[in-house]
């Protein structure tokens, strides 16, 4: 057993795997999150906030 995780992380230990793994599921989930964020922001800023009474103009 190595002294710490640095020692574990030798090139042959992890080599190659990085290229093989494409986190397509993650990309999908995060794209959905992105869409939710944009839609929610547009609603809350442009409709809810700017549509309220007594907007501060000075």
């Amino acid at each position: 057993m190595g002294r710490n995780e640095t020692a574990h992380a030798s090139a042959e230990d992890v080599g190659g795997e990085t290229e093989e793994f494409d986190p397509i599921g993650t990309l999908t989930l995060i794209a959905i999150y992105f869409a939710i964020l944009v839609v929610s922001w547009v609603y809350i800023y442009y409709i809810e906030f700017l549509g309220r009474d007594l907007v501060i103009v000075g």
Binding site: N4, A9, S10, D13, G25, F49
Partner: protein, 597 residues
């Protein structure tokens, strides 16, 4: 001893002395959690009008101060120092330099928090002329008993020594391993503590130079905008101080529990460096609606704040990708089908995942909070507590509780009493918080203020949206009750765990990252450089605003009085007087303040 057997040793076996400190820190943390939860349920029921029989509306603010200080400072920080001690010692695979120093900072932090805690809780006892009903933010000129400030100072000094302990242990390791990269967990601890030194310097200055001498009567008045600005100099980075240990767990422990490994070690380092750089020069975004601060400073603060989204957005990707890798190692397939191949029966896994999901929702309300002018809509409404109950109240708190199910056996050699109860507990927390936080956000949009014992007013009704004020109150009460139940389950499970016998075979190793530290540019480990840039950014962001504030109001403020909350005569006069006799009350408190001063 053979290598195989050594690999089976838990942290408690390898480092029994350090494990004791970690246990003590976690137990301190859970004591604070218990107290905080008791005040939490009292407040939920009081505020929503479901049950107001336990405390008076005046004592609500004593409870609220206790809830804030015990949870936001005590629960989080004690867990953090326990976790960090474990992380540094584990990842460096060496003991701390001197365990007596480690116990010294623990003792100081415990003593400081006890002092502050007593000064707060004394507010419930009318016979004692001691109170600290100034809430977590202690805005002057409301004034707490001196012991409140003194305790905070001692607590912070203790945390500084803890940071020094980690840095010295790392330096000793570095001498022994001159050419090695800083192990990831230690890197995370060091960057977080560097941020903490920068951030807490301001609140320490505020307490030691202004608030403590003022509460002792050594100076007559303080500048409310200045002390408030110094608080928020600390008050925003402190939220990342809470969050960083949760990130450490998401990056280094969660992938392992998911059956995989961290996706990218270099990106994890980049994220922590970004937090070190950007956490502090943003505090003015809590003061968007303050008079006496120019709009330009607010805009700069907003720009920094928005870019602070970046490390969290990157984290979302890296952590989910690490979990996806784990799921695919476990045989998961499909675009999203792998989600079913994760260890959802493990409370540590499910708890952390639900915490992360809540954090994603909190990210949205955080964007609204960060938007300078949209702040008019939600500033100081209950939207804001709705937001931070998602972040610190779930992303952090639920991660800590979930991680405890994994970590506690490592530091005690005792298996968790019931993982099934643990699973129920984390799900109940999630459901409770979903209800409570959602309703708080909705009430905030109606204009319902935060920090009030009775949010219903005699002169007007709130507009009716999202089901309306009353219905949302019910949701808050149900949600808050579920959160209390969840805390009871957590604490109960832990107490029963303590009764379990010690066994062997609980040791868990943390695997290295897919893309390891050798992939990370060396410059990332140059802590001096990053601290230097961080300090420069803070100076750029704060020098001019602080100079302008002092220039406007003077170091000690432009003719502002002193309003001690810790003299019962004043308190009673204020409570009874209400609006009708405002003038008289002001005179009375001014003269009383003179007597005190």
């Amino acid at each position: 001893m053979s290598e195989a057997i050594e690999g089976d040793r838990t942290f408690a076996d390898k480092f029994p002395e350090e494990a004791r400190v970690v246990r003590a820190a976690l137990l301190g943390s859970f004591l604070a959690l218990t107290l905080g939860a008791v005040f939490g349920i009292i407040q939920t029921l009081h505020r929503t009008g479901v049950f107001r029989g336990l405390i008076s509306s005046t004592d609500y603010y004593t409870s609220l101060t206790a809830h804030g200080v015990f949870l936001a400072l005590s629960f989080t920080t004690f867990f953090l120092v326990g976790l960090f001690t474990w992380a540094v010692v584990r990842s460096l695979d060496r003991p701390v330099i001197d365990i007596r120093i480690t116990w010294t900072w623990y003792g100081l932090m415990a003593a400081g928090m006890t002092m502050t805690g007593i000064s707060i809780l004394a507010g419930f006892v009318n016979e004692l002329d001691m109170s600290a009903d100034v809430l977590f933010t202690f805005y002057a000129p409301l004034q707490a008993h001196p012991m409140f400030y003194a305790g905070l100072a001692v607590f912070i000094v203790g945390s500084w020594i803890a940071g020094a302990d980690y840095f010295r242990t790392w330096l000793a390791w570095k001498r022994e391993n001159p050419d090695e990269r800083i192990p990831l967990q230690t890197f995370m601890v060091l960057t977080t503590m560097a941020m903490w030194y920068i951030a807490s310097s301001a609140v320490a200055a505020s307490v030691l130079i202004f608030l403590l001498p003022w509460s002792l009567g050594l100076i007559d008045q303080v500048n409310p905008t200045l002390t408030r600005t110094l608080f928020w100099f600390f008050g925003h980075p402190v939220v990342y101080f809470w969050l960083m240990p949760a990130y450490l767990l998401w990056y280094t422990v969660l992938p392992k529990i998911a059956g995989g490994r961290l996706f990218s070690d270099p990106l994890a380092r980049v994220v922590f460096v970004l937090f070190l750089l950007l956490s502090t020069p943003v505090g003015i975004h809590h003061q968007y609606l303050d008079p006496g601060i120019a709009e330009g400073f607010k805009f700069i603060s907003m720009t920094n704040t928005m870019f602070l989204l970046l490390p969290s957005l990157l984290t979302a990707f890296t952590v989910v990708a690490s979990v996806e890798y784990g799921a695919r190692q476990r045989g998961g397939t499909g675009l999203l089908g792998w989600l079913t191949d994760l260890p959802w029966r493990d409370p540590a896994f499910t708890g952390m995942m639900l915490a992360g999901l809540m954090f994603a929702a909190g990210g949205f309300s955080g964007m609204v909070n960060a938007g300078m002018n949209i702040n008019y809509m939600i500033h100081n409404t209950i939207w804001v507590p709705g937001h931070f109950h998602l972040t610190v109240g779930t992303a952090v708190a639920l991660t800590f509780m979930a991680a405890t199910y994994w970590l506690w056996p490592q530091i005690t050699n005792k298996p968790i009493y019931s993982r099934a109860i643990g699973l129920v507990q984390v799900v109940v927390w999630f459901v409770g918080m979903a209800l409570m936080s959602n309703a708080m956000h909705a009430q905030g949009i109606l204009g319902v203020p935060r920090r009030t014992a009775e949010p219903e007013y005699s002169g007007f009704d709130y507009p009716t949206m999202f089901g309306g004020f009353e219905e949302l109150n019910i949701q808050i009460a149900i949600g808050g009750t579920l959160l209390f139940v969840s805390t009871v389950l957590f604490i109960g499970n832990l107490v029963l765990t303590m009764g379990n016998p010690k066994i062997s075979g609980l040791a868990e190793e943390l695997p290295p990252a897919l893309s390891g530290p050798d992939d990370a540019p060396r410059v990332l480990d140059n802590l001096r450089l990053w601290v230097g840039i961080a300090v420069t950014l803070v100076v750029l962001a704060y020098a001019l605003p602080l100079a302008a504030i002092i220039n406007r109001g003077g170091l000690l403020g432009p003719g502002v009085g002193t309003f001690p909350v810790w003299l019962t005569p004043v308190l009673d006069a204020l409570a009874n007087g209400a609006a009708a006799v405002v003038g008289g009350v002001v005179d009375a408190s001014a003269s009383l303040a003179e007597v005190v001063g």
